[in-house]
Symmetry: C3
Subunit: 140 residues, 3 copies
Amino acid sequence: MNYFQKEIKLKSHNRGYHLITTEILNSIPEIKEINIGMLHVFIKHTSTSLTINENADPTVRMDFESHINKMVPENQSYYKHTYEGADDMPAHIKASLMGASVQIPITNGKLNLGIWQGVYLCEHRNFASGRDLVITAFGN
Amino acid sequence: MNYFQKEIKLKSHNRGYHLITTEILNSIPEIKEINIGMLHVFIKHTSTSLTINENADPTVRMDFESHINKMVPENQSYYKHTYEGADDMPAHIKASLMGASVQIPITNGKLNLGIWQGVYLCEHRNFASGRDLVITAFGN
Amino acid sequence: MNYFQKEIKLKSHNRGYHLITTEILNSIPEIKEINIGMLHVFIKHTSTSLTINENADPTVRMDFESHINKMVPENQSYYKHTYEGADDMPAHIKASLMGASVQIPITNGKLNLGIWQGVYLCEHRNFASGRDLVITAFGN
């Protein structure tokens, strides 16, 4: 039984949706020692999130930003948590809609993702510094 | 320590929400060998998703389709990723709102679901072929 | 390899978003025996959910309730599943948007949460009794 865990700080990203599959894989080469198992990626923040989606066409990520901004708009009259800026409370809600972690099966030493799947960092704040991830791989 | 992993292809489903708990259980009878553990189900696609919800009344699944279509409508003027059809970009967004995996505790050789819980395949495309799942059970 | 699992019933909560990190930690002190691992928390219901978000300002949780109610309103003409009350079908949809489980890395005998992160019980029904959780910790 193997458990491997790394903590990394991503470089800062602009508000929007960004592919980080390569950064994750580079941080935990021990995946190749696992025959059957899991990779869990966790983000230690509440206004940023992680999801799995299409890894090819950058306009998919742009459309995520456009539509999620419409689903969770800024400056609504009912928001009470406003002292951290107009983008903050929507960022918290978006973070829970997407989620704080993703978990991907490992098969024969590799992530068993579909051909079009990648991991997105969803940066919901206008000006954020680097975000902290806890990356854990486990299995046989 | 036991790790069991299967890959299955579901039959094609119409757009909408469908119970697949039985298909999952049938594919991995080794759950009964696990006293305490986890079942992880992962879908290898970015326009379909998995969630856990009510397993009894089919109108619940119909209402999911009606409301999520309203939350993430087709043909919005800001969509740039349009060349795969009007249903495609909304399907990607819906997939991330629901999620690419579910994880359920195993207790005494059985899934420890609530009495009303089942696993849904959320098919967000109009015309999809069979979808691939990676099903992993692990525990003591 | 260690697997620990507990089932607890939370006290009943009002409709809204509530911090339950302390209840979770108190129920599974065996976390301190795990060097690298995972804590998985699962809710056995389909009209309540779990998420991770900001643990400090109570107005964040109030704004979640206000905005998610707007995203998934009651009494829509297309709802067919209405016989359990106006709050029931929206509760099912909200539950899938948030999710039935959270998974948090364990590092050196402690949950490796960010400083602002806590676990929320998201109670989507108007009048609910205590909710059942399955809490599983595993690792080396």
